[in-house]
């Protein structure tokens, strides 16, 4: 076993899967939701309020038996911009990745314009990211741009 952080072991190691580290404590459940882990059938370990040198307190999620595509992981950049993804195979760290705000965001957000068609009919939302710092997105349908992000329920 190489460099799995001892602090991560507090939550328990996984043989194969993904560790999502450095999640802000208040967005751990959102990350679960964004990655669709609410209905995942294998083991998901969640740690909240773990000590972090860099952030004070942090959250962590370990998902057994699952590897994510980069574009799925990038969606969590909206709520956990400093998250680190650690790919584990055979208890060993084989890859570490960071997340990046994607250029397009589908489904997970809600348009803030109450008169947008996506708030009137059952339509999956689509947004284009037009600014990353600060985050600014534009609705594909009503074309309104917005800086406050609202997640679909």
């Amino acid at each position: 076993m190489t460099t799995i952080n001892k602090r991560e072991l507090i939550v328990s190691a996984i043989e194969n899967g993904t560790v999502i580290d450095h999640i802000p404590v208040n967005t751990v459940l959102m990350v679960l939701n964004i990655l669709g882990l609410n209905n995942y059938e294998d083991e998901v370990l969640i740690g909240i309020n773990l000590d972090s040198k860099k952030y004070g307190k942090k959250g962590i999620i370990k998902v057994r038996g699952k590897y994510f595509q980069q574009h799925d992981l990038n969606k969590i950049a909206l709520v956990a911009p400093d998250a680190t993804l650690i790919v584990i195979k055979n208890y060993e760290v084989v890859e570490k990745k960071s997340v990046q705000i994607p250029d397009k965001i589908d489904e997970i957000l809600k348009c803030i314009n109450p008169n947008c068609i996506t708030n009137k009919e059952a339509i999956k939302t689509k947004f284009t990211v037009i600014g990353k710092d600060p985050l600014k997105i534009q609705c594909h349908y009503c074309e309104k741009s917005m800086t406050n992000i609202r997640f679909a329920e």
């Binding site: 348009c111 314009n113 008169n115 947008c116 068609i117 996506t118 009137k120 009919e121 059952a122 339509i123 609705c139 594909h140 349908y141 009503c142 074309e143 309104k144 741009s145």
Partner: protein, 305 residues
């Protein structure tokens, strides 16, 4: 040559400079010869989910002059939407009855969504406060006709620059043609920064004013819009500014010979009737140009020109 066959027109940004020029060239041909039966076997669905006089009649007139059959409705109360049918289902059905759909809707984004559902091309005739691209095309055509060019013009935009969708689209389109913008509005109704970004990105200049008289002498085009009382939370604020964005014949003294006044209509008091008799008034011809531009759009999108 731009190929616009089957290309939806939802937002002015869907088309590029080449596309605009292609449509304007075609519109000029239709102005020469507006009655030709090139859409004889075609069915145009004209569906207006909210009332409109000019846009609907201009589309239907344009289609009829080209020999198309026009189906549709001007009043959603008489449709299955009133019974609760979704826009999705209405469009699915209509796209199997027609060759092209012209749609106005009060909900923003309805046109983009309808185009995704439809199996035939769709032209947005206005979706809430979002886009009204055919108005923009006819504005461009009117500017081209009155100035002989679209390049390097001094464009003055007056009135409600914050909420006016025609103003936003016109700014975006004129950024392709090296325009200089003169923006005249009450402080509360200034052009939004998102629209100013188009000007900045194109490295063009804009100047802001609160009174129209300051911009008259430099203008090639004065594009008037309504300042609506309901945009002001305090009625006193409206009273203070309501006269700063209106013109009469005397306001236009000292303007350039080639200057023309445009307005998407309907007008209220922002253009006094004495302007109508001056050589600068162009708003009624502008409305008529809508027919030729819409003929050009329908025939290009149906691949018949």
């Amino acid at each position: 040559m731009a190929n616009l066959k089957n290309k939806n027109l939802i937002s002015i940004s869907d088309y590029n400079k080449q596309d605009y020029l292609e449509i304007l060239k075609l519109a000029a041909e239709f102005e020469e010869n507006p009655r030709q039966e090139i859409l004889k076997d075609k069915v145009v669905a004209s569906i207006f989910f909210e009332p409109s006089t000019r846009t609907r009649l201009s589309f239907e007139s344009a289609a009829s002059m080209l020999g198309a059959k026009v189906i549709g409705f001007a009043n959603p109360a008489a449709t299955s939407q009133a019974k609760g049918e979704s826009l999705h289902d209405t469009i699915k059905m209509l796209s199997s009855y027609s060759d092209i759909i012209v749609m106005r809707h009060s909900i923003e984004g309805a046109a983009r969504y309808a185009a995704e559902v439809s199996t035939v091309p769709l032209i947005n005739a206005g979706d809430g406060s979002n886009q009204h691209p055919t108005q923009c095309m006819l504005d461009l055509y009117s500017i081209l006709k009155t100035q002989g060019t679209l390049e390097n013009l001094q464009i003055t935009l007056v009135g409600d620059l914050k909420y006016g969708r025609t103003v936003h689209s016109l700014v975006e389109a004129m950024c392709h043609f090296n325009a200089t913008f003169h923006l005249v509005s009450p402080t509360a109704l200034k052009l939004p920064s998102a629209v100013k970004m188009h000007i900045k990105r194109a490295k063009l200049k804009y100047y802001q004013y609160t009174n129209i008289s300051d911009a008259v002498s430099v203008s090639d085009i004065i594009y008037m819009t309504r300042v609506q009382r309901e945009r002001f939370s305090d009625p006193l604020d409206y009273e203070k500014v309501k006269d700063s964005c209106i013109i009469d014949a005397s306001t236009l003294e000292g303007c350039q010979e080639n200057m023309r006044v445009l307005h998407p209509l309907p007008r209220l008091n922002e253009i006094a009737v004495d302007v109508d008799k001056t050589p600068y008034a162009y708003y009624f011809q502008q409305a008529r140009n809508g027919v030729y531009v819409r003929q050009a759009l329908m025939s290009a999108i149906l691949g018949l020109r």
